[in-house]
């Protein structure tokens, strides 16, 4: 056993060497958690959208369908912000009923199987559906955030946004990678 450790001990230096090398490894400053940046995307979308119906709610409600870390990120990054002078409220929805109270509903990838029911309710209630799964804009999502290499991009579906009673500013169309 002593021999074993005699030969293996140099290995303890291996992680130390990696650290030493990593000092010179080019660190790309500004690399953020994906969900943090998505939360900021969602907040920024509100600057380019205009809801037809004036809501009676005192708050601008952004819903996250079922639990995901996106709710935490939105809470952390957007809770103190305002949209049209209304304070943002972040809610986690455990069922379909509360969707109608939201202005935006985010559907995490892991719950995408429930998308059709969510979309049907959202469309009738002037709610923008945002997803994060490949190909969802084609399938009826208003805005779909996708990853390309190390950056996030988004695609928009004008017909779905119009059907939901939401106006889109031209600038948003220009920033989107694909417009359906």
């Amino acid at each position: 056993m002593r021999t074993f450790f005699k030969y293996l001990w140099p290995l303890i230096c291996f992680p130390a060497s990696i650290f030493a090398i990593s000092v010179f490894y080019p660190v790309k400053g500004g690399e953020m958690k994906e969900s943090t940046v998505k939360a900021m995307f969602i907040y920024n979308f509100t600057k380019y959208l205009e809801w037809d119906k004036e809501s009676a709610e005192e708050k601008f409600v952004i819903g996250v369908y079922r639990y995901s870390d996106m709710a935490d990120e939105l809470m952390l990054n957007c809770n103190q912000k305002k949209v049209n002078d209304k304070p943002i409220e972040i809610v986690t929805l455990s069922n379909y009923q509360a969707i109608s109270k939201c202005k935006i509903i985010f559907v995490p990838a892991k719950y995408i199987n429930d998308f059709t029911q969510i979309k049907n309710i959202a469309e009738k209630n002037n709610v923008v559906v945002i997803t994060e799964s490949e190909g969802m804009c084609k399938k009826g999502s208003c805005i779909n955030i996708i990853r390309q290499e190390k950056n996030l991009r988004f695609e928009i579906n004008i017909k779905e946004l119009t059907d939901a009673g939401v106006k889109i500013y031209e600038q948003l169309k220009k920033l989107a990678t694909t417009v359906y």
Binding site: F19, V27, E34, S94
Partner: protein, 660 residues
């Protein structure tokens, strides 16, 4: 350095860092959509499994739930977990039992921000008032073996605690609670958190100071002598946790100075209370390096300096033996993650450690007749997860090599599947308990104990609001390492005693809608008469083990009276238990007493921002009906049961504000 001085130094650091942080945070939060499109994001694991699919029986408790339950320390939270129960070790130290098995000594792993908290001399995990609940962001508990990934202290369970951090909270939280028994102050807990995050770095600093007494009842030893615990059962704790992330380097530091004052060591009460101290400093640095979207690796280096079970003879007495050993440990490791595709993910790596224990009083270790001992350990591990349409398959293993005890290999396999409304898990895991420094010193031929655990879980999402899960388990441990006290040599003694283990089931029903929620958990175990270890046996009942109830129920209902006021009644029911309550020295006979079933009821009231925008006030009464709970020693030594806490009123104030 004294922890209080360290807190002072940190305040200056916080002030400095915060000035820097204000600018950077503001810039990120105010980025336009065009700017956000240029921000690079870190790679997420491509085969992340959610809790319904993860290959383990898992409980998760969030900060919101901890706040609503008005918990004081981590033991209040762990009571809610099916199959978990507190027991009493020597010197009044409390530890955990898992599924009816004593796990305190080397079989349950506690991680705080990824740092292993089990002390190195005996691998124990002292609980009660040393980890403040209000500073916890999330606890993930694997209620089952975790050795294949987590090593030799995770044979029965893993408790992974994430403290509040700048990822969730950018600002300051000041939290203070006071509680009282009738005519006696029970506890004072003060916590402060400061954290902030920018695009280049983040930091969080937590400081805690706790003073408490264990109760105000009378403790009666096995010889019938008693003393008033209100005067001599203090617990004092200072804890500081720092997390710093700079340019991808993640640095965690945890420091604590935890002292329990007790008039009982092993059996008879002493003439006065003595302290048992646990002092430790842990530091860990790691950095995740992503070579591409599929392959990343994380080197880690950790250092620990601790004095566990410490008592120095400040009292000039002969009735309590001084014990002053310092353990220094260097640990390094490297972990690789390879996501071949969205269907397959492989984690593998290795770690090495060097522990050195030095007796500061110049006493010699019996294993080598020197005043210090060294233990070297190395391990390699791997785990692959394959997602298919049929099910998710997990296969993993760990090989451990040690300079003192024999090499060990533990494999595990798992199958999980989640449908829309249901999920199924079937797991078979081998695990090991690594003998600690004092185990190998007391018995140089001691071997790692091994456990084989089979688990099956079925869960169902009954409605959008209601879910249920049921899991069955069968745990069999061979070469069980047991502790004993050698009266002749007046020293600790350890041996591989034989087979032990339990089988049983646990079930949880949970409901949650927007405003209200409730949960109820029931757990059951039986030895199945498979145990041959006398230390844990109950002579009157072969189906049970000492200290732990076969039946346990924990239920709570959180009712929102309005958006700012919540009430949470809680109920903890324990079935009958057995403990050694008296001892006849002449005949060497122990008396095993049946402790009747009992229930503890609590009520907690939480108000959020009622009096002031950023101020939360919580009030509650624990043990409303003043039930006589006890904390029992789960093996056949002679520490009589410690009386539980009587009715206790608690008031907690939490003030928080976020940095702009």
């Amino acid at each position: 350095m004294k922890i209080t001085k360290l807190i002072g130094v940190c305040c200056f650091v916080i002030a400095f860092l915060n000035v820097q942080a204000q600018t950077d945070t503001a810039s990120f939060n105010e980025m336009s959509l065009e700017q956000l499109l240029n921000v690079e994001v870190s790679v997420a694991s491509s085969t992340n499994l959610n809790n319904r699919e993860t290959p383990g029986i898992v409980s998760v408790i969030t900060a919101e739930e901890i706040e609503a339950m008005n918990a004081t320390d981590i033991t209040d939270v762990l009571k809610r977990i099916p199959g978990m129960e507190l027991g009493c070790d020597v010197e009044g130290v409390l530890g955990l039992g898992i599924r009816g098995n004593w796990a305190h000594e080397g079989k349950v792993l506690l991680l705080i921000n990824g740092i292993e908290m089990n002390e190195s001399l005996y691998a124990t995990l002292p609980l009660e008032h040393n980890y403040p609940a209000d500073m916890i962001e999330k606890i993930e508990i694997i209620r089952g073996p975790g050795s294949a990934m987590y090593g030799g202290a995770a044979a029965y369970a893993v408790i992974d605690v994430r403290l509040k951090s700048a990822n969730k909270q950018r600002g300051v939280i000041a939290n203070s609670s006071i509680s009282a028994f009738k005519n006696a102050l029970a506890s004072q807990v003060n916590n402060i958190y400061v954290g902030n995050k920018t695009s280049n770095y983040s930091y969080s600093i937590i400081a805690n100071r706790t003073t408490a007494i264990r109760g105000k009842r009378y403790f009666t030893d096995v010889y019938g002598n008693a003393y008033d615990m209100a005067k001599e059962s203090d617990i004092k704790n200072n804890l500081m946790a720092i997390n710093l992330n700079v340019r991808g380097y993640n640095i965690d530091v945890v420091l604590y100075d935890y002292n329990i004052f007790s008039r009982v060591g092993y059996d008879a009460i002493f003439s006065q209370a003595y302290y048992t101290g646990f002092k430790a400093g842990h530091a860990k640095i790691s950095k995740k390096i992503e070579l591409n979207e599929k392959f990343s690796f994380t080197p880690t280096i950790g250092y620990k300096n601790e004095k566990p079970w410490n008592f120095n003879d400040d009292y000039d007495t002969e009735e309590y033996e001084p014990f002053d050993i310092t353990v220094r440990e260097w640990k390094s490791g490297i972990s690789f993650t390879y996501g071949l595709s969205k269907k397959f993910n492989l984690v593998f790596g290795g770690e090495m450690s060097n522990e050195k224990a030095v007796d500061n009083n110049g006493e010699i270790f019996s294993s080598n007749n020197k005043t210090s001992v060294t233990n070297n350990n190395a391990a390699i591990y791997a785990q692959g997860v394959l997602k298919t349409n049929l099910a998710n398959f997990t296969i993993g293993c760990r090989a451990n090599f040690n300079s003192i005890y024999e090499n060990t290999f533990v494999p595990r396999i798992g199958l999980t599947k989640a449908w829309e409304k249901f999920h199924l898990k079937a797991l078979l895991s081998q695990a090991y308990r690594a003998p600690s420094i004092q185990n190998t010193d007391a018995n140089t031929s001691i071997q790692p104990e091994k456990s084989l655990t089979a688990e099956v879980e079925i869960g169902a999402q009954l409605t959008n609001n209601l879910s249920i899960s049921v899991n069955g388990f069968d745990m069999l441990t061979t070469k069980t390492i047991v502790y004993s006290y050698d009266d002749v040599d007046d020293d600790d003694y350890y041996l591989n005693a034989g087979k032990s283990g339990t089988r049983g089931f646990e079930t949880e029903l949970k409901f949650k809608n927007k405003a209200n929620y409730f949960g109820i958990a029931y757990s059951f175990y039986s030895t199945g008469k498979q145990s041959t270890v006398e230390n844990y046996m109950v002579p009157q009942n072969a189906d049970m083990q000492l200290a732990f109830p076969a039946h346990k129920i924990y239920g709570y209902v959180n009712i929102s009276l309005n958006s700012k006021l919540h009430v949470q009644p809680q109920l903890e029911f324990k079935g009958p238990r057995y403990g050694i309550t008296s001892y006849n020295e002449e005949t060497d006979e122990r008396y095993y007493q049946k402790i009747n079933a009992m229930a503890v009821c609590n009520i907690m009231i939480n108000s959020k921002a009622m009096l002031a925008k950023n101020l939360n006030i919580a009030f509650g009464v624990k043990n409303i009906f003043n039930a006589n709970d006890v904390l029992i020693q789960p093996y056949y030594d002679l520490h009589a049961p410690i009386p539980g806490k009587s009715r206790e009123a608690i008031l907690k104030l939490t003030y928080h504000f976020n940095f702009k």
